[in-house]
Symmetry: C2
Subunit: 182 residues, 2 copies
């Protein structure tokens, strides 16, 4: 951030009076430009016991497999965001269920929220996907998954499935969790 | 938003090519300025069966009672944000427990995340609070609570407490839920 989005003057990066951390602030009009983490909402869509994965047509991690997920937009709920991302990436009109994984990624200012979802037999690659496919547990492309959040969510799912219970799993990741991936 | 925070040129508000909703975009340097919902993290601190509430020293809702909560900051986890807000507003070093209410507020682009928390006997009004106090259920100032999210979280808590189980409650609010409050 170089300029104030309100008045166009140059901003400085310093601790505002009465605050405890540096912010972008404009000495011309007085605006403090707060920056906050973003929510990445998505689903783990399941159809007849198989999990729907999307192969990414965009960077980062072009060509790797992921669960459908993306940035929550203003004006929607977390559940609506999860549904929309599933629709956009996998063209699947899922029935969104309970929140399943909540993963904090403080090093990149993201909070992942993945919901369980029931998918039907109809799906297709959206513009951000190269292909979309259903996977049995033994066919999950573990070595070609896009992000550690996706690995962790799928691990929880296959651990929980024999028990028939799918409690919310909350956890934190840092950049070390990327190790061996990218 | 009037100016591009990257290059200082004027921005326009229009649907970017390949997108499906209007954004602030800069035709000079090509930056798209995405805006996303913010997380409000907080706790419901309990000490010896009583709930710790803070009376707000700031607008909005100056003078009304609230649970300690505020915007999550970059670089922290949701749980750390909940702890920090409790420390800042109630000077209480709580032990943060499980996520308890997750409330979407799409009309104001917020997602509330309130965690259960154990408080000790030590607390005090932080700079954003006029006073901080422990309340028995029968003494909760229902008519002087600051926000509908706080009302709902406390209602869940007192409904759940006799059962000894405190599952995650997810819900959505819109501006009609403010009715009779402000």
């Amino acid at each position: 951030m170089n300029y104030c989005s309100h008045c166009g003057a140059s901003v400085s990066f310093e601790v505002p009076s009465g605050d405890d951390r540096p912010r972008y602030l404009c000495h011309h009009c007085g605006t403090v430009h707060y920056q906050n983490p973003r929510i990445v909402a998505g689903t783990i869509p399941v159809h007849e016991g198989k999990v729907l994965l999307c192969r990414r047509a965009i960077e980062p991690r072009h060509g790797y497999w992921t669960l459908p997920a993306g940035y929550m937009e203003n004006g929607e709920t977390t559940e609506q965001a999860a549904w929309r991302e599933t629709w956009e990436e996998a063209q699947a009109d899922v029935k969104v269920g309970h929140l399943y994984t909540l993963i904090d990624l403080p090093h990149i200012n993201q909070v992942y929220m993945i919901f369980r979802a029931e998918a039907g037999p109809e799906f297709a690659a959206g513009p951000e996907s190269l292909e979309v496919a259903l996977f049995d547990e033994q066919d999950i492309p573990w070595d070609h998954l896009a992000f550690p959040t996706i690995v962790r969510t799928l691990e929880h799912f296959f651990e929980d499935r024999p028990t028939g219970k799918f409690p919310l799993h909350t956890s934190t990741m840092d950049k070390r969790d990327r190790k061996g991936m990218f």
